[in-house]
């Protein structure tokens, strides 16, 4: 194990001792050139919410819109003593990350995914604490004040919420499963906090399940006018048809034979998963592929490509097919007569799980607003989809997407102009600037 050992204070000696004790557990190496703590911070994707595109690493200021609440700002988590977390003891840090309570007793909003982070091992917490205290530059930057209407800003209900929904113990390995599976489960449930987006939430905004014991776990959920699609084993719109290699490739490179990822997941790949070791990618994949199909038979018909619609498009006689007409003029050159696109840069729409998602939010949002740029190895990809909100009406978009959802063997419900309009009203075109969030 590699450790960055700075001049060691008495307290840190204690930490080192604890780490050495923790080494009795299986040890998972981080990539070369990176401390364990930095790697843990990557796995948790701390940077995404605590660093602005042009700001200093971890100095906070990222605005996030919390549903029904208001604007919450990611805080300064540099070791600056006044404006950051420089005065946090390990216990303070651990409590904030894993339980959501600050040293002064305030409860954090669950925009901070502490219900997931709660599963982090003490070893990883210690490593991460060491990273933030010793590797991150202290930055003097006061935190902006959250913009939440007065009556919603009382934090005591969060205490109750936490009691009801937040686990308090770290991940417990399942002795029936392999080390690799357990490592994958630990990453997916814990630091990776996949469930924060992909698990549907209950009436109290709690995730309906926190691990594979619940069918709702990672079964797909709406997220800020996107659909965080199901990661279960369903064939139509889960990961049922994705191979292990597909999953690894998506997490490592942001794209695979199903095309590039989009929406919020772009930020996850850009800032977190691309830094994962091969072992961890394989472990996560093993765990995800072990999740059963849950949506029932109708969603589990195997997809078979059907070329009837290819023929229709090739005929160019589309007068009575308004959706095919819009597709022909606006979408086909990239996505193809056969709907097969040019993966990995341009996605196929035939058989694509995102297209077949029962919640069409993602494809509507993509069509209206496009998506962020993938940045892999600090190299942005220049295959941007144009946004169509100016060029196409709600009806034209609904027609084209309905066509796509039912062409080439796709079998998903049509889309109405009203559905398009609702997302149009609530969203803006994506900002095409490239954001490379640095941790150094």
């Amino acid at each position: 194990m590699r450790l960055v050992v700075a001049p060691i204070s008495q307290m840190r000696k204690t930490i080192l001792f604890l780490i050495l004790l923790a080494a009795a557990y299986p040890v998972f190496a981080q990539p070369p050139g990176m401390s364990q703590g930095e790697y843990v911070a990557r796995l948790g994707n701390c940077v995404a919410c605590h660093t602005t595109p042009n700001g200093e690493p971890f100095a906070g200021g990222v605005a996030m819109e919390a549903p029904n609440l208001g604007i919450i700002y990611g805080t300064n988590i540099t070791p600056h003593p006044e404006t950051g977390i420089g005065n946090y003891s390990f216990e303070d840090f651990d409590k904030a990350v894993r339980i959501g309570i600050t040293p002064d007793g305030r409860h954090l909003y669950p925009a901070m995914p502490y219900p997931s982070y709660a599963k982090t091992t003490e070893e990883d917490m210690l490593a991460m604490y060491d990273y933030f205290m010793n590797e991150v530059e202290p930055i003097n930057q006061p935190n902006p004040i959250n913009e939440i209407p007065g009556w919603k800003s009382a934090r005591w209900p969060l205490a109750i919420w936490n009691m009801m929904f937040v686990p308090t113990t770290a991940y417990q390995p399942d002795p029936q499963q392999s080390d690799e599976w357990n490592r994958g489960a630990y990453l997916v449930q814990g630091l990776g906090h996949c469930g924060a987006c992909h698990t549907p939430r209950g009436l109290m905004f709690q995730e309906k399940a926190l691990d594979q014991s619940g069918d709702a776990y990672l079964a797909g959920a709406p997220l800020d006018h996107w659909s965080a699609s199901s990661l279960r084993g369903d064939l139509a719109y889960g990961l049922g048809r994705w191979t292990e290699e597909d999953i690894v490739q998506l997490l490592a490179e942001g794209r695979n034979r199903w095309g590039p990822t989009f929406g919020t997941m772009v930020e996850v790949v850009n800032n977190s998963t691309q830094y994962m070791t091969d072992y961890d990618l394989a472990a996560m994949t093993l765990y995800l592929k072990s999740l059963s199909a849950v949506a029932g038979d109708s969603a589990n018909q195997p997809y078979v490509h059907n070329s009837a619609d290819t023929g229709l498009l090739l005929s160019g006689s589309l007068a009575s097919h308004p959706g095919a007409q819009v597709y022909f003029e606006n979408c086909m050159n990239c996505h193809g007569y056969d709907g097969l696109g040019h993966p990995p840069y341009i996605p196929p729409v035939a058989g694509n799980t995102a297209v077949l998602d029962p919640d069409p939010s993602s494809i509507i949002n993509l069509t209206l607003n496009s998506s962020l740029r993938l940045v892999i190895g600090e190299q942005p990809t220049l295959y941007d989809m144009p946004f169509y909100r100016e060029q196409l009406s709600n009806q034209e978009i609904a027609d084209a997407l309905s066509f796509i959802r039912q062409a080439w063997g796709n079998a998903a419900p049509g889309i109405t102009a009203l559905q398009v309009d609702q997302i149009r009203q609530a969203t803006d075109p994506v900002n095409e600037d490239v954001h490379i969030l640095r941790m150094k």
């Binding site: 050159n333 990239c334 144009p386």
Partner: protein, 156 residues
């Protein structure tokens, strides 16, 4: 870097390139085939249209990795031995171009249209040609020239 075999205007060419380089820049900067124009870089104007296995496709958003192995025709490859195709002849006859920059897209797309529909209806012309942007305003002449080219196909 990877090596790709390209079939361009009937010739086989080997190109070393990054897999994500769009065909447009390989044609223009590597092969000197500058008749295929850069207009928008997002597939919105179609000035960069080439024929891929006979179908018109913009080249600015076509990764070289997807173009490899397919038969690619550029504007330079239309007229064999200097003899203009019916589409090109009609373009000359009706004096279609103004600045001319978009005309690669117009001519390549019209060539595809006429191979699919030798006697296209107005609706078919609109469907195939509407994605191809012209800022000089040659649309009325493009439309007329497509109809003239259709006649020339039959005369030929």
């Amino acid at each position: 870097m990877a090596t790709y075999q390209l079939q361009i205007n009937g010739e086989s060419r080997t190109i070393d390139a990054e897999p994500d380089v769009p065909l447009l820049w390989v044609l223009r900067d590597e092969m000197g085939l500058t008749g295929t124009k850069f207009g928008c870089g997002m597939g919105l104007c179609r000035s960069c249209t080439v024929l891929i296995d006979g179908a018109s496709s913009f080249s600015c958003m076509l990764p070289i990795s997807s173009a490899a192995g397919k038969a690619i025709t550029t504007i330079e490859g239309l007229a064999e031995d200097g003899e203009l195709t019916p589409v090109q002849q009609a373009w000359v006859e009706l004096d279609v171009p103004q600045c001319g920059y978009c005309q690669t897209g117009q001519i390549m797309t019209a060539t595809h249209l006429l191979s699919d529909h030798p006697q296209p209806s107005d609706a078919q012309i609109d469907a195939y040609m509407s994605p191809v942007v012209c800022r000089c305003g040659t649309y009325p002449r493009v439309k007329a020239a497509i109809k003239r080219a259709s006649e020339l196909f039959y005369e030929a």
